[in-house]
């Protein structure tokens, strides 16, 4: 009888291994293509971003699994929120996430995205990422090593292949819930301010 995190791991894997997906052949084929080719937005949002370069370069070589970096949100499938997430970054993450085209997935690294981690009582970070954006896959650890990130990607690929990774639909269906939470911490204007804003918004032209 395994206890502790081994038991937890078993529960997680059991959920992944269950065969209860109902998808027609076209969906199955499209999901297979989506699974094989994952473009990751190269945007470091927290301290965990330091684990991403070794994941994508020669040492761990994520490209052999079809996972490669994308330069712009327009071309990306996956955004990684790598660790703690300050209010200032959250604005940018929301803007970036909404710029990505469907289907899109969100991978959260580290314990800070689960419950705030060691920043639990910080004055300028959020605690549960899930309240603000839908998460497809958590990779736990502080920080997760590149091996764990790769394992998280493989689990995500499995979910995509079975058609279960549908957080983008969840975001569209429950947009009011997410928007309410976002406005609670960021104020009415959730989008980040840019240098051009002074003449586009109040007080400007």
């Amino acid at each position: 009888m395994e206890t502790g995190f081994l038991q937890e791991q078993k529960v997680l894997e059991g959920d992944l291994n269950s065969e209860n997906s109902h998808q027609n052949s076209v969906d199955f084929l499209m999901n297979w293509f989506r699974k094989q080719s994952i473009f990751v937005l190269a945007y470091g949002t927290g301290c965990g971003a330091i684990e991403m370069p070794p994941t994508f370069t020669s040492r761990y070589d994520a490209e052999r699994l079809g996972i490669r970096g994308a330069a712009t949100p327009r071309q990306a499938d996956v955004i990684i929120v790598s660790g703690y997430c300050s209010y200032k970054t959250l604005r940018r993450i929301i803007r970036t996430y909404e710029q990505m085209s469907n289907p899109k997935y969100l991978l959260a690294l580290g314990s800070c995205t689960v419950n705030g981690g060691m920043y639990w009582d910080s004055y300028n970070t959020i605690k549960k990422l899930e309240d603000y954006l839908p998460v497809d896959m958590y990779v736990n650890g502080c920080m997760p090593r590149p091996e764990s990130i790769l394992e998280g990607f493989i689990a995500l690929q499995k979910e995509i292949g079975e058609g279960k990774a549908s957080s983008w639909q969840k975001y569209e269906e429950n947009y009011e819930f997410y928007r309410k939470n976002q406005e609670a911490v960021l104020g009415k204007k959730v989008e980040p301010s840019y240098e051009a804003d002074w003449y586009l918004y109040e007080g400007g032209l």
């Binding site: 293509f33 490209e63 071309q75 085209s101």
Partner: protein, 295 residues
């Protein structure tokens, strides 16, 4: 009959182009001491991008740009014969000569510039500015070499140029070949002339605003266009081809050289690459032109 020919040429270019692009990623990975993606990875990427939803609109020019690029690539392919012997797979080459192909080579860049200009993405505009200024420098040595070849073989017909080589033009006129090869490395978007789509510098350059189906179209376009350019170089300098095995062997050899060249060298800045192309390959091409047409 000609319709069947054209469709078959398109199919060959599509498959071979994606195969070459996959091999490019795989071989570059081996240069960097990693395993690299499977050979069909680029094909999977393009199909996945076709299946993505669109969420942006920048007006009709933005939609038309990739179409112009695609039609430019396909027309270039159709006006270049696959083989210089026999009757089949000549495409439309009897209706247009090398001058037309040289015109069509830049149509893609033009479509790209129009679409990116309509999108207004600053990174895309930066990439296009770099691309167009580099294009002028690229064309000069290539055009000089091609003009020298035309005057030597006495015809602007690609089939005639390919057939008139007793020994390969690459060995008969090495200076012209070297000059054209510098341009060719740039046309294939390889280092040291890859400042246009330079990753981490201008994000994806001209492609940064394209997503989903546009990007998939761009990937297919680049695969077809790569094959067309390789076939053109094989016909101009490597003695043409009279069968599929010969064509694939010669074009793959050339492609391998370009990849290796790109993997070995660092990246020039835009002014550096224009400076270099206007000085070194152009001088080589002019000397080659004089030597080839002296008598």
């Amino acid at each position: 009959m000609i319709l069947f020919d054209l469709l078959f040429m398109l199919l060959v270019a599509y498959i071979t182009g994606f195969l070459y692009y996959g091999l490019y990623r795989n071989i570059t990975a081996r240069f960097q001491r990693r395993l690299g993606p499977p050979v069909w990875q680029s094909f999977l990427d393009s199909i996945k991008f076709f299946s993505k939803e669109e969420s942006i609109s920048h007006g009709w020019m933005f939609y038309l740009g990739p179409v112009i690029m695609m039609s430019g690539a396909i027309m270039t392919l159709f006006f270049i014969p696959l083989f210089h012997t026999g009757e089949s797979f000549k495409g439309l080459s009897s209706y247009g000569n090398l001058f037309l192909v040289l015109y069509l080579l830049v149509l893609g860049a033009l479509g790209n510039a129009l679409a990116v200009g309509a999108s207004g993405n600053p990174f895309g505009v930066m990439g296009v500015t770099r691309g167009l200024s580099r294009l002028f420098a690229l064309e000069l040595p290539f055009y000089i070499s091609v003009i020298a070849l035309i005057s030597v073989s006495g015809s602007a017909d690609i089939v005639c140029i390919a057939a008139s080589q007793t020994e390969w033009n690459a060995f008969a006129y090495p200076l012209l070949f070297i000059a054209a090869l510098f341009s060719f490395v740039g046309m294939m978007g390889q280092a040291p002339f890859d400042v246009v789509g330079a990753p981490v510098e201008v994000y994806s350059g001209p492609a940064s605003e394209f997503s989903g189906k546009f990007l998939a179209l761009l990937m297919s376009q680049s695969a077809i266009f790569t094959f067309a350019k390789l076939v053109l170089m094989v016909h101009l300098f490597l003695g043409g081809a009279s069968g599929f095995v010969e064509l694939l062997a010669k074009s793959f050899g050339l492609f391998l050289f370009v990849i290796a060249f790109g993997a070995m060298y660092g990246r020039f800045k835009t002014p550096q690459s224009i400076d270099f192309l206007l000085k070194v390959p152009t001088s080589i091409a002019i000397v080659g032109l004089i030597l080839a047409t002296w008598s």
